[in-house]
């Protein structure tokens, strides 16, 4: 039996600010617990060394404004790179599954990155997925976002990709950051139904979440048949998390991962540094490594206090039914959406960066292609924290785009290259794995 790969990168020398939830201390007690348990010494577990992501790995997913160095620290390169290390180990058959216990997190980062949103600058899971698609030809991927916050960044990145099934359960956006992730967010016109949200009522317990897992998430995975299952593994559904209000336990996390059996899990949020994280991280390692977790629990866990209400269970049942139906109708809806003479589908968006207080305005055009899921043209403006104002143009060609789309998208890049209306123009061509940017002020092009 192959071991589970564990990559523990607590970034003991990185913090957003000294008292921020994302601070040096966050994984300290997790370190103490997993080291004291000696779980890394067991034959079921193999510990990996962190790696560094290359700028190109980031450009495959993000339009960093104005450039990659402006948006990341070395810690981000290590965090994203560490997910890649486990991804390689998994694809090369060294491990049966992998868990990257890494920080800083990433699931609130969207395609365009003007700054830090929800403690994230770059999206570790998306960087890993695009790396896997490029390097190993993995095509269909399912991401199950088990963080208490809606994984809005990952959702946005894959909203128009019918080959990526993004499922997020989270505390209802009406009661928690980032205020999105509602039932009706089902994907773009040509990728309808492969984004599935389950906004749960505050104080939902193990019973409610595991019910949703068994009756919605597992059937969706069964039907979607992904090449890879990724757990975007936040730990802030825990009953002691200071930033959210759910009632999930370490046992619940262990059960969830044992049943979900993700190929790779990547740590996201979770800010109950002493009461939850040491035990939840143990729970995940044990569940993924197939170690009996019945003796694991938090010291203050009282099961009687975590009873699910009948009303809430009923509410979840209803949502599950509705989302199953939405998923199963996806092909019909997409076919209907394709029957249009519109060349582009356009949307206007406003995006708020809570950590950096940035207001971004976006207009997004999606090519409604008869042969593929199209490409995106994103116009984005934002004033950064340093006062600098940026207007940028981003062209994103997904790896599954058709040749006509690729050619058309690339032609926009050529046409716009001298256009001083934009400070920066970016081309992200995942088919040719080529990433270009033009600084129009300096008339300088960079190619990755």
């Amino acid at each position: 039996m192959k071991p589970s790969g564990i990559l523990f990168f607590p970034a003991f020398d990185w913090a957003i600010t000294p008292t921020h939830p994302e601070r040096e201390e966050r994984l300290l007690y997790t370190r103490d617990q997993i080291f004291e348990e000696g779980i890394m010494d067991l034959p079921q577990v193999k510990e990996y060394q962190p790696g560094l992501a290359a700028p190109k790995d980031i450009a495959r997913v993000h339009f960093c404004v104005p450039d990659i160095p402006a948006q990341i620290t070395e810690a981000h390169l290590v965090s994203a790179g560490s997910a890649l290390v486990l991804a390689d180990a998994f694809m090369q058959g060294e491990i049966k599954n992998g868990f990257a216990i890494i920080r800083p997190p990433g699931h609130h980062s969207m395609s365009v990155s003007h700054g830090n949103r929800g403690f994230c600058n770059i999206n570790n899971e998306a960087i890993m997925i695009e790396y896997l698609r490029r390097k190993y030809g993995a095509r269909r991927v399912a991401i199950v976002d088990t963080d208490v916050h809606h994984g809005d960044g990952t959702q946005e990145i894959y909203y128009n990709d019918p080959d990526v099934l993004f499922i997020s359960f989270h505390q209802d956006g009406r009661t928690l950051y980032p205020g999105s992730g509602f039932m009706e967010e089902l994907g773009g016109p040509l990728a309808h139904g492969t984004t599935i949200n389950l906004p749960l009522a505050p104080r939902t317990t193990d019973t409610g979440i595991l019910y949703a897992l068994d009756t919605l998430i597992m059937p969706l995975l069964e039907e979607f048949k992904p090449d890879l299952i990724i757990n975007s593994a936040g730990q802030d559904n825990h009953y002691s998390d200071p930033l959210a209000d759910m009632r999930f336990s370490a046992q619940g996390y262990a059960q969830l991962n044992a049943r979900l059996s993700p190929d790779i899990a990547v740590l996201e949020g979770g800010y109950s540094v002493e009461t939850a994280l040491p035990y939840v991280n143990m729970a995940l390692i044990m569940a993924m490594a197939g170690i009996d977790f019945s003796n694991l629990r938090e010291p203050d866990y009282v099961p009687e206090r975590m009873k699910e209400s009948a009303g809430n269970l009923e509410y979840i049942k209803k949502m599950v039914k509705q989302q199953l139906a939405a998923f199963r109708q996806r092909e019909e809806v997409i076919a209907r959406n394709r029957k249009t003479d519109q060349h582009f589908h356009s949307r206007h968006k406003q995006i708020f960066y809570d950590t950096d207080y940035i207001h971004e305005e976006q207009s997004v055009k999606l090519r409604l292609c008869p042969d593929c899921a199209g490409f995106r043209l994103i116009e984005s403006t934002a004033q950064h924290r340093n006062g600098q104002y940026y207007r940028v143009y981003c062209i994103s060609i997904p790896i599954n785009a058709c040749p006509a789309c690729q050619a058309e998208a690339r032609s926009y890049y050529g046409d716009l290259s001298g256009n001083s209306r934009y400070d920066f123009i970016y081309l992200q061509d995942r088919i040719d794995d080529e990433y270009r940017s033009i600084d129009t002020g300096k008339d300088l092009e960079k190619v990755l």
Binding site: A11, E36, E37, D41, L42, Q49, A75, V78, L296, P299
Partner: protein
């Protein structure tokens, strides 16, 4: 004058070293059943030439504890574990007599659950009825709070006075409960036997009128006063590879990156030196396939040596993991690895005609030309050694890192030389170095470098301090010392450093190594602010200070 004695698997070596030169050497076959006798035989031979009065220091590297643990011939011993919540009980199959007690401590040293008195009584009775008289007690996070271990031990001692009890918190303060439990168990297994060895040696030395200091070489390449070793028998495991690594450093003495190859009769020990410092096993010494908290050099042993036997079958030749005797060139009769190198490279070892004859015979059996057979043996040997060295590097490069700084400044490594130790290294190392395109280094003292390394190694000591200013508690390792702070509110990193240093000085004085305390350095300094809400509620400090492996003051290198 200094004496170093290294008990090896096949031979026990001894040297007398004085002012940069080895002035006497001796060698006797090791008697595994009576290590003390082998040690004293070597000692007496050395003392024949040099009077006891002139000997200022003796260092022994022995296999007493290693052998006891390897043979499994120990007295039945119970392990009492207090693991609390976490891994299942079956993760800890340390001894067949393992007992579990309720009780829990967390990472901050807070008691989560007390002992269950009735369960403790019952466990004591079970251990007694099994006739067991040695008990190792270990609790999870006992390095942060030893109260459960101490209470359980006190109860056992009071109510079952025939039992000798060993506590995990006294053995190691490092994180990793299974390793602490295993090390405590191994200590319980070997303590009495080690102590009777120490008694016998002390008596024998007194009889011979030796007044100088007597030290034991530890797995970390440092020495420990014989008397101080009584409570830490496991520290003496793997002192053989430690001796050869210290010997390699003593004869090469520079800051290079090197691989040390100690080629014995049937085994080769490989160790790495990085920037002049020996590399440690990151998970602690592994004994009987279990990790321990014993700090040891990262040594890879492979079953291949100068005496390794050769076996022919039609069209091929095998290099065996055993020996039939010494090499043919020394009158052993059958061809060995040494003979193959001797002929292929015209090394003139022993009587080369005997090597050639034995190889010719073997080549006949294989249906090969002798040259062809020699080349095949050389290729196999060099290939195995090279692969082992490269794997060690790969493992070292893949060591985890937990800070951004460590990942960004990833260690880069180029090998400067191969240091050959042991008689057979003269035959093998030059060719290996040529193939690997690095410089070979074989000193004139290569054959006795182990005993020399032991003779000149200095004492080592490592002290770790964990401070929690919110709970006001601190824990010191070694010894499981704990206490509470009276200046928790103002406690800073500098206070932690001073506290660790004071404790190092105190133990250093107890262990007769005061003069080395000056050369101590901090190897770990960690500080975390505890934030609850948006305010600081305290700080956590982890500080480590050590006297690293090195050489005694009077050692100024060996004369070229």
């Amino acid at each position: 004058m200094l004496i170093g004695i290294d008990v090896g698997g096949t031979y026990t070596d001894g040297v007398v070293f004085d002012r940069g030169e080895v002035i006497a050497t001796t060698k006797v076959p090791t008697d595994d059943k009576d290590i003390k006798a082998s040690v004293l035989q070597v000692l007496d031979r050395l003392l024949e030439q040099h009077p006891a009065d002139d000997i200022s220091r003796i260092v022994l590297s022995t296999t007493v504890v290693t052998n006891l643990l390897a043979t499994g011939s120990w007295e039945r011993t119970a392990v009492v574990l207090i693991p609390g919540y976490g891994l299942p009980a079956d993760a800890y199959g340390i001894s067949e007599d393992t007992f579990f007690l309720k009780g829990g401590i967390d990472f901050r040293g807070r008691e989560l659950e007390p002992l269950d008195q009735a369960e403790l009584e019952q466990t004591g009775r079970q251990i007694r009825s099994a006739g067991i008289k040695r008990v190792a007690v270990a609790a999870k996070f006992s390095n942060r709070n030893d109260s459960l271990e101490t209470k359980a031990a006190a109860y056992i001692k009071d109510n079952f006075p025939e039992m000798e009890v060993f506590l995990g918190s006294k053995i190691s303060g490092k994180l990793n409960f299974p390793r602490r439990a295993v090390t405590t168990y191994y200590t319980a297994l070997t303590s009495r036997e080690w102590n009777s060895f120490v008694d016998a040696i002390e008596e024998a030395l007194a009889e011979r009128g030796l007044q100088g200091e007597v030290h034991i070489l530890k797995a970390d390449g440092g020495t420990l006063l014989l008397d101080a070793s009584r409570s830490l028998p496991c520290e003496t495991v793997f002192s053989g590879p430690a001796a050869s690594t210290m010997g390699a450093l003593a004869i090469s003495s520079d800051k290079s990156n090197a691989v040390v190859l100690d080629i014995g009769g049937t085994t080769t020990d490989i160790a790495l030196i990085i920037d002049g410092s020996p590399l440690y096993a990151s998970k602690g010494a592994s004994i009987n396939h279990r990790y321990t908290h014993i700090n040891a050099f990262a040594v890879r042993s492979i079953a291949l040596g100068g005496d390794s036997s050769l076996t022919a079958s039609p069209g091929r030749v095998e290099v065996e993991s055993f020996r039939r005797g010494v090499a043919a060139c020394f009158g052993g009769g059958a061809a060995t690895v040494t003979d193959a190198f001797n002929c292929k490279f015209n090394l003139n070892i022993g009587d080369p005609r005997l090597s050639a004859g034995a190889l010719r015979e073997l080549a006949g059996q294989a249906g090969m030309e002798p040259e062809e057979l020699e080349a095949a043996v050389v290729d196999t040997v060099i290939g195995r050694l090279r692969d082992s060295i490269q794997n060690m590097f790969k493992e070292w490069e893949n060591e985890p890192a937990y800070k951004v700084w460590e990942v960004i400044h990833k260690r880069k490594f180029t090998l400067d030389k191969i240091i050959g130790i042991g008689a057979a290294s003269r035959a093998i190392v030059p060719e290996l170095a040529r193939v690997m395109k690095i410089e070979p280094y074989i000193h004139r003292y290569a054959d006795v470098a182990n005993a020399l390394g032991a003779a000149v190694a200095r004492p080592t000591l490592s002290v770790s301090l964990h401070v929690d200013t919110q709970t006001r508690q601190y824990n010191l390792d070694p010894g499981g010392v704990k206490g509470s702070l009276d200046n928790a509110g103002k406690f800073q990193m500098e206070d932690a450093r001073q506290m660790a240093r004071r404790y190092l000085e105190k133990i250093g004085a107890e262990r007769g190594m005061k003069s080395y305390v000056e050369e101590s350095g901090f190897f770990m300094e960690e500080q975390f602010n505890m934030i609850r809400g948006w305010d600081s509620s305290g700080k956590l400090f982890d500080v480590g200070i050590q006297v690293a492996p090195g050489f005694i003051e009077e050692f100024k290198g060996v004369k070229a």
